[in-house]
C-alpha cells in the first residue's frame, strides 16, 4: 500500500443486543451487568434509543407502564384504563419530564384480569391514544416482565431511570442500543425492548415480513402498532404462546422458519395454520419470558444469518450478545458459541440449556472455551480504554521505528485493529478484538490469544492471522494473499469470494468446523477444514451450500461431505415431483425412480449417473441457470505431489498450534476435494446432445 495510511476515525454500526439469564442457585443479576454488556458496544448504537428489560419470577405485582406527554394525559389514560379493567392507580412517574420528552408513568391495576382480555384492553387503550398522533403509549404491562427505555445511549437511559439505585437484581436482563432505520428515534416509544404480556425482546435487524406479520396479528385481534418490525416480534411471541397455545420451541420454529428440507422445518399443515407468523429478512433477537415459575431466555437468528449473535455460559449464567467481547466483558472465561443460521437457543433458570442453537448438540460443546494466555512479549500496549484509532496509530508508529513485535493486552471489542499498518510487524493480541481485524492487511502477522469476531481478514493481501480460539462469521472475505489459521471453529460465510493471482494464493485453515456458505462465490485460493477432535464423530464438519457459485480455487474437507451440503440445489421436492411426473408419463422406470428418491442427495451428479441423456436434459433444467457450474467432488488423499503446497501449509498450521501429531494423522486420512469442474459447461453438453425427435 502506498500514500497516506488508511484511517478510520468513526465507527458506525447496526444495533447492539445483550441478554443474561441466571441459572438455578446463582445470585440474581444486578442491572450493572446489563449496562456493562451493552455499553461495551456503545458504537453499535446511537443517541436515538436504548433500553433495558428484566424478568423476575415468583409472586410479583403487575405494573402497567406508559409514556405520556404530560401528567394530564397520564391521568386521562388511567381513567380510560380503569373503564376497561377496573380500578387502576397511578403510582407516579419514573423520571421528570421536561415537557419536550415523554415521561414514563407507572400504573397498578387493583383487580387481576385474564391475559387475553387484559391484552385486548391494553390494545384498545393504545389505539385510543394514538389518533391522530400518539399522545400516550403503554409499553410494558407484565407481571414478571418490566421494561425501562428511553432516548439516549444505554448509559443515559440507565441514569434516567436510576436503575442502579431503584431497581433490584433480577433473574434475567436484556439490553439494547439502537441505530434507527425505518422508524424515528425521537420518541421513546420506538426504543427497545418491546414487550407484550410476559415477553420482552430486543432486536437487531430489519424484518422484510413486517407486513405479513402485522396482518397475521391483526387477524388475531391486535389492533395497535407503533409501526416497527421489532414490536411485531414481541407480539408474535406473546400471541403464539398465549393465544394459539404453542410451546416455546414451536413458537421459535414458527418465527425463524428454517428452510424447507432442514430437519426442523415446519410441516405444510403447520405452516398453513401459522402463515404470516414467520420472520423474514435480517434479525437477531434476544427475548425474555416468564410463566411465573421460571425465567426463559430465547435467542433467534434469521435463516441467512444476516445479523450477528453469539451465546455463552459460565457456571452461573447464560449470555447472548451481538459480539463476543460483550460476554467476555462480564464473564472473561465464559464458553461462547454461535447460533446456526435459522437457529434458536432456549435456556431457563430451572432447566438450563434447553436448545443450544445448534442442531447437532455435540458440535457446540467443542467450541473453544479457554485459550492459553502466554506472557506478553515485545512492546506491550495495554488496550484498556484505547479506541481503535489510538491503537492503530501506536502500531504504525512502532512499525515505523523498526519495532518487530507488539503485544496488545486487554483488548475488548476494538474494531479495525491493524488497518493501515503498512510495515511488517508481529502483533500479538490478548483478549477479544472487535470486528474487521486485519482488513486490507498486507504484511502484518497477527496472533490472537482468544477468539476473533466477524469479518476478519477482509480483502487481505498478505501477512497472516493466527487465531487460538474460534472465529465468527464472514472470515476472510475476498482473501487474496497470506494465510488465516483458526484453531477452533469458524462461523457462517467463511472464505467467500476468495481469489488468487499468478503470484499470490491465499490459504485458510480451520481446525474445527464451519457453518453455512463456506467458499461461496469462491474464485481462488485454498480452504481446508480439518475437524480436529471430530475424528470419531459422524457430524458433518461443514454447513450447507458449500462452494455455491464457486468458479475457482479448492475446498478440502477432512472425511466425507454429505453431497446435499455442496452447492445450491433446487428444492428436493421439486426434483422428486419432476421424476414422479416422468414415471407417470412412462418415461422413467419405477426402479430408477425409487433409487433416486431414496438417495440421500438428489444433485445433478447423481441424475447424471442414473438418467439417460434425454431425461437428464429434461430434469436438468431445474438445476441450470446462467451461473450454474458443475463441481468436481472427489475423495482424495493429500499426496505430496498433487497437494504439495497444501501439505506444507497444514504442517505450518500444526506447528503454530502444537498440533503436529493431529495434523499428520489428518494428512494420512481422506479428504473431500471440491472444485469447479473445468470442462464443458452444461450448455455445451446440451448442444452436443442429439436433437430431440418429433
Amino acid at each position: 500500500m502506498s500514500g497516506e495510511p488508511l484511517e478510520i476515525s468513526h465507527v458506525k454500526s447496526g444495533c447492539g443486543v445483550f441478554g443474561v439469564l441466571r441459572k438455578r442457585g446463582a445470585p440474581p443479576i444486578s442491572p450493572e451487568v446489563a449496562l456493562a454488556g451493552i455499553e461495551c458496544v456503545r458504537y453499535r448504537g446511537s443517541r436515538f434509543g436504548a433500553g433495558f428489560g428484566l424478568v423476575r419470577t415468583g409472586p410479583q405485582s403487575r405494573r402497567i407502564k406508559a409514556f405520556a406527554a404530560s401528567d394530564e394525559v397520564a391521568e386521562e389514560l388511567r381513567r380510560e384504563l380503569q373503564q376497561r379493567i377496573g380500578k387502576v392507580e397511578l403510582i407516579g412517574s419514573e423520571y421528570a419530564s421536561d415537557g419536550k420528552i415523554y415521561a414514563s408513568y407507572v400504573f397498578e391495576p387493583v383487580d387481576e384480569q385474564d391475559h387475553r382480555s387484559l391484552r385486548r384492553s391494553i390494545g384498545a387503550v393504545n389505539r385510543a391514544f394514538s389518533r391522530p398522533t400518539i399522545r400516550a403509549r403503554i409499553y410494558s404491562w407484565g407481571r414478571y416482565v418490566e421494561v425501562f427505555k428511553g432516548i439516549g445511549y444505554p448509559s443515559d437511559v440507565y441514569e434516567l431511570y436510576s436503575l442502579s439505585d431503584k431497581v433490584e437484581a433480577a433473574d434475567l436482563w436484556i439490553s439494547h442500543t439502537r441505530q434507527p432505520t425505518n422508524s424515528p428515534g425521537r420518541l421513546p416509544i420506538w426504543s427497545h425492548p418491546f414487550a407484550s404480556g410476559e415477553w420482552a425482546i430486543v432486536h437487531n435487524g430489519d424484518v422484510s415480513s413486517f407486513g405479513a406479520n402485522m396482518e397475521f396479528l391483526s387477524s388475531l385481534g391486535a389492533d395497535s402498532f407503533v409501526g416497527t418490525d421489532s414490536e411485531v416480534i414481541a407480539l408474535l411471541l406473546d400471541y403464539l404462546t398465549s393465544e394459539i397455545g404453542l410451546k416455546l420451541e414451536e413458537a421459535c420454529r414458527a418465527l425463524v422458519n428454517p428452510f424447507e428440507g432442514s430437519e426442523d422445518t415446519l410441516t405444510g399443515q403447520q405452516l398453513s395454520a401459522l402463515r404470516g407468523a414467520q420472520l423474514d429478512g435480517p434479525f437477531s433477537v434476544v427475548a425474555g419470558f416468564s410463566d411465573g415459575n421460571e425465567a426463559f431466555m430465547v435467542v433467534l437468528v434469521d435463516r441467512f444469518k444476516f445479523r450477528p449473535i453469539v451465546v455463552g455460559e459460565d457456571e452461573n449464567y447464560f449470555y447472548a450478545a451481538s459480539e463476543e467481547a460483550q460476554i467476555r466483558r462480564v464473564s472473561p472465561n465464559a464458553r461462547v458459541w454461535t447460533i446456526e443460521p435459522g437457529g434458536y437457543m432456549i435456556a431457563s433458570t430451572d432447566r438450563g440449556l434447553i436448545r443450544p442453537g445448534r442442531r447437532a448438540r455435540e458440535l457446540f460443546m467443542r467450541f473453544s472455551s479457554s485459550v492459553r494466555h502466554p506472557t506478553p512479549t515485545g512492546v506491550v500496549i495495554d488496550a484498556l480504554g484505547l479506541n481503535h484509532s489510538r491503537i492503530n496509530s501506536l502500531l504504525r508508529d512502532l512499525a515505523v521505528r523498526g519495532c518487530e513485535e507488539v503485544s496488545l493486552i486487554n483488548v475488548s471489542g476494538q474494531r479495525y485493529i491493524g488497518v493501515g499498518v503498512d510495515r511488517p510487524l508481529k502483533v500479538k493480541i490478548h483478549g477479544t478484538p472487535g470486528n474487521c481485524l486485519a482488513n486490507f492487511n498486507d504484511c502484518v502477522d497477527f496472533e490472537v490469544f482468544g477468539s476473533v469476531q466477524d469479518d476478519v481478514g477482509d480483502v487481505m493481501h498478505g501477512g497472516s492471522v493466527v487465531v487460538h480460539g474460534d472465529a465468527r462469521d464472514v472470515l476472510g472475505q475476498a482473501l487474496q494473499g497470506g494465510y488465516v489459521f483458526v484453531k477452533g471453529n469458524a462461523g457462517n460465510r467463511c472464505g467467500i469470494q476468495m481469489r488468487e493471482y499468478s503470484h499470490k494464493r491465499p490459504y485458510m485453515v480451520i481446525g474445527g468446523t464451519v457453518d453455512d456458505y463456506l467458499g461461496e462465490y469462491m474464485a481462488g485460493g485454498v480452504i481446508v477444514v480439518l475437524g480436529l477432535g471430530y475424528e470419531d464423530s459422524d457430524l458433518p464438519l461443514v454447513g450447507k451450500y458449500v462452494g455455491s457459485g464457486m468458479v475457482g480455487g479448492r475446498i478440502l474437507v477432512r472425511g466425507e461431505v454429505p453431497r446435499d451440503r455442496i452447492g445450491y440445489l433446487p428444492p428436493r421436492e421439486d426434483v422428486v415431483q419432476y421424476l414422479r411426473g416422468l414415471k407417470l408419463d412412462g418415461e422413467l422406470d419405477d426402479r430408477t425412480f425409487r433409487e433416486l428418491i431414496s438417495a440421500q442427495h438428489l444433485d445433478y451428479e447423481i441424475l447424471r449417473e442414473r438418467l439417460a441423456p434425454d431425461l437428464l436434459k429434461r430434469v436438468g433444467k431445474l438445476f441450470e441457470h446462467k451461473y450454474f457450474r458443475r463441481l468436481r467432488i472427489e475423495p482424495v488423499r493429500l499426496d505430496a505431489e498433487r497437494f504439495e503446497d497444501v501439505c506444507s501449509v497444514l504442517r505450518e498450521f500444526g506447528k503454530r498450534f502444537s498440533l503436529e501429531r493431529e495434523v499428520e494423522r489428518a494428512l494420512d486420512g481422506r479428504f473431500t476435494l471440491i472444485e469447479p469442474l473445468r470442462g464443458p459447461t452444461v450448455d455445451a453438453v446440451r448442444r452436443e446432445l442429439p436433437k430431440e425427435e418429433g
Binding site: 447496526g14 432505520t181 425505518n182 435487524g205 430489519d206 424484518v207 422484510s208 415480513s209 413486517f210 407486513g211 405479513a212 402485522m214 396482518e215 391483526s218 387477524s219 388475531l220 409501526g227 393465544e243 394459539i244 422458519n257 428452510f259 424447507e260 410441516t267 405444510g268 399443515q269 403447520q270 405452516l271 398453513s272 395454520a273 401459522l274 402463515r275 404470516g276 414467520q278 423474514d280 429478512g281 435480517p282 435463516r303 441467512f304 444476516f306 461461496e520 462465490y521 451450500y545 455455491s548 445450491y568 428444492p571 421436492e573 421439486d574 415431483q577 419432476y578 414422479r580 411426473g581 416422468l582 407417470l584 408419463d585 429434461r618 433444467k621 441457470h625 451461473y627 430431440e692 418429433g694
Partner: protein
C-alpha cells in the same frame, strides 16, 4: 421507455430492499417459491398456475397437464367439457372444470350470484370430507360474501375475472378485499384466512410482476390463462414435445423472475412473507379512495 399504465396493478410498486434489509441473490441463495394449499395438503412448487385450455386440442391439453404435473404447478381445467384421462391420473394438481365435478379432485363450483344465501350454500357443502371444494367466483367487493364462502365449508376460492357479473370490480380490488375479509379469528383461534386458499385468474395478466403484485394483494396462486400462450408462441397443432418443453421453461422463467422480485424486496419466502403483505407495496398516482379499497399506501408514505 415505459408503457402507459393500463391497469391498477401498473400503479403499484414494490418497496425494495435497502441497506439494512439486504436484497437476496436468488441465483446463489435460496428464495423459496413453494407453497401449500388446502390446509397443507397440496405442495406446489410456485404460486403460478396454468389455465385457458378451452381451445386446445385433446392431445395438447394432455401435454399441458403432464408438464404442469412435472413442474409441480396447478392446472386449471375450467372451460373443458370433460376431465381428461391424464388429469385423473394427476388429480392432485388439477382443478376440475365447472360441471365436471369428480369426487376426489379439486372441484370448483361456480357461483354466479352476488351473494349466496344460506340454503344455496347448504347444497354446496362437500359430499365427503376428503373432497376439496373451491368456489369459482367473479371479482366482487363484498366482505361478507367471502366470509360466507368460508362458513359454507369451501377450502378455496378462485376469483376469476373472466366471469361476467354486473357487480364485478377489478381483480386487484377483489383480491385485496377477499384477503382482508378473512383476516379475522377463525376456529382454534387461527386466522380464518389461514384455513382457506385464495387463487385468482384473469386473461389480462401478463407477467411475473403482475403475479407478484397480486400475491402481495392476497392471492396464494395466480392462474395465467393467456400469458403462457403468448410467451411460448403457442399455435394449434404445435409439436407436443415442443409445447411441453417451452411451457416448462416458461414456468422456470416465471419462477426465477418471482425469485428476483422477492429477493429485491429482501424476501426469501414468497408464501409466508408476501401473500397479502400490502405493506411491502406502495401506489403511484392512485386516488385515495381506491388506495383505501386496495389497502395499499401511497409512495413515500411511512
Amino acid at each position: 421507455m415505459v408503457e402507459t399504465p393500463r391497469f391498477i396493478i401498473d400503479h403499484i410498486v414494490s418497496d425494495g430492499a435497502q441497506v439494512t434489509r439486504p436484497s437476496i441473490d436468488p441465483y446463489r441463495e435460496p428464495v423459496e417459491t413453494h407453497l401449500y394449499l388446502f390446509n397443507g395438503t397440496l405442495r406446489l412448487s410456485m404460486p403460478v398456475a396454468i389455465g385457458g385450455l378451452r381451445d386446445l386440442g385433446k392431445e395438447e391439453v394432455s401435454e399441458v397437464i403432464r408438464a404442469c404435473y412435472r413442474m409441480g404447478v396447478l392446472v386449471d381445467l375450467n372451460g373443458l367439457t370433460e376431465v381428461p384421462e391424464e388429469a385423473l391420473r394427476r388429480q392432485s394438481h388439477a382443478i376440475a372444470p365447472i360441471g365436471a365435478a369428480n369426487s376426489s379432485m379439486v372441484n370448483a363450483l361456480q357461483l354466479t350470484i352476488s351473494g349466496p344465501d344460506a340454503t344455496e350454500l347448504e347444497t354446496m357443502r362437500p359430499v365427503h370430507e376428503n373432497q376439496t371444494l373451491v368456489a369459482r367466483v367473479p371479482p366482487l367487493e363484498d366482505t361478507s360474501f367471502y366470509r360466507d364462502l368460508f362458513e359454507a365449508g369451501f377450502r378455496g376460492i378462485i376469483i376469476d375475472e373472466d366471469l361476467d357479473h354486473h357487480d364485478a370490480v377489478e381483480l386487484e380490488v377483489a383480491t385485496s378485499v377477499c384477503d382482508r375479509a378473512l383476516k379475522v379469528p377463525g376456529p382454534d383461534g387461527l386466522p380464518m384466512r389461514n384455513l382457506i386458499s385464495l387463487l385468482v385468474s384473469s386473461e389480462r395478466l401478463r407477467s411475473s410482476s403482475d403475479a407478484f403484485k397480486l400475491i402481495g394483494l392476497g392471492a396464494e396462486v395466480v392462474v395465467l390463462p393467456e400469458a403462457w400462450k403468448i410467451a411460448i408462441d403457442y399455435r394449434p397443432q404445435m409439436e407436443r414435445p415442443l409445447l411441453s418443453e417451452r411451457l416448462e421453461y416458461f414456468l422456470i422463467g416465471v419462477q426465477k423472475e418471482l425469485k428476483l422480485l422477492a429477493g429485491a424486496a429482501g424476501v426469501s419466502s414468497l408464501w409466508t412473507s408476501l401473500v397479502g403483505s400490502r405493506e411491502l407495496f406502495r401506489s403511484i398516482e392512485l386516488d385515495n379512495s381506491l388506495r383505501v379499497r386496495l389497502g395499499v399506501k401511497s409512495a413515500g408514505e411511512w
